[in-house]
Amino acid sequence: MVRGIQDSQKTLKSRQVPYLAFSASFVFIIMMFNIPIPGGSTGHAVGGTLVAILVGPWAAMIAITVALVIQALLFGDGGVTAIGANCFNMAFVLPFAGYYIYRIISIGSPKGSMRRAIGGAIGSYFGMSIAALFTGIEFGLQPILYHAADGRSLYCPYALNVAVPMMLSGHIFLFGWIEAVATFLVIKYLQKEDPSVIL
């Protein structure tokens, strides 16, 4: 977080602030679109990789953190005690993984190229999947680390063998694809409008 603030002080220019505000708003609103999956649960996209492609991964971390904190404090979504874990997964792991996958795929390609749009989609998909894997591991460790004398978990009742497959499957089969399509469409659109706004 400190590193993100320092980096942003160096690289964030006043003309980028509107894009930072858009980024945080986009992440906030996209997470309100709960998508049902078989098994009675829901999930959502994050928009983290797209935001990182717009403002860079460190500024993306700040934008996503703001969205998550307001979501938890005002709307009781995600949870106040889970802000730390949520920020690590969705504001750090996701944008960095997605952004650098995008950058590697885009090496040597012009900003308006199809390769960049596809790179953004692939980065989004894997960014989501990697973040979901981290989240599943964090959930699954809880019953091992924190349990009452009777063996019942103090927090998450499911261990790694349930938590990791549950988190991964939803994101690999559905939410990751939605994230990828959303990123692809917005990048395609921006390439047509003004390719200079993407990194």
Partner: protein
Amino acid sequence: MKTITKLWMLIIILIILAPLGLILPEYFKAGSAWGEWGIDEIRQLAGYVPMGLEKLASLWNAPMPDYAFKNWEKKPLPAMGIAYIISAAAGVLIVVVVILIIGKLLAKKE
């Protein structure tokens, strides 16, 4: 029109469409995201309420819980949809204000 203006129009469209994120799960009888259960939900799923969670659950009371107004749990779906749009708009507004403050503090002038 400037690119950023068009992007804000996208946000406004998403705010108006936001109730889809409420109606679709309702239609398919889907509950919370995996791991984001409320106390009642977790009791149904796991058969018990984890003690640590029970203690932490009352730590914070959000002013607009679940993107609705307080004590609105039993309102019909259209009313919840409107509350959802209002929550989305209010949330975006507050996010923008917070980012503008952060931007003032961090961004260098050109």
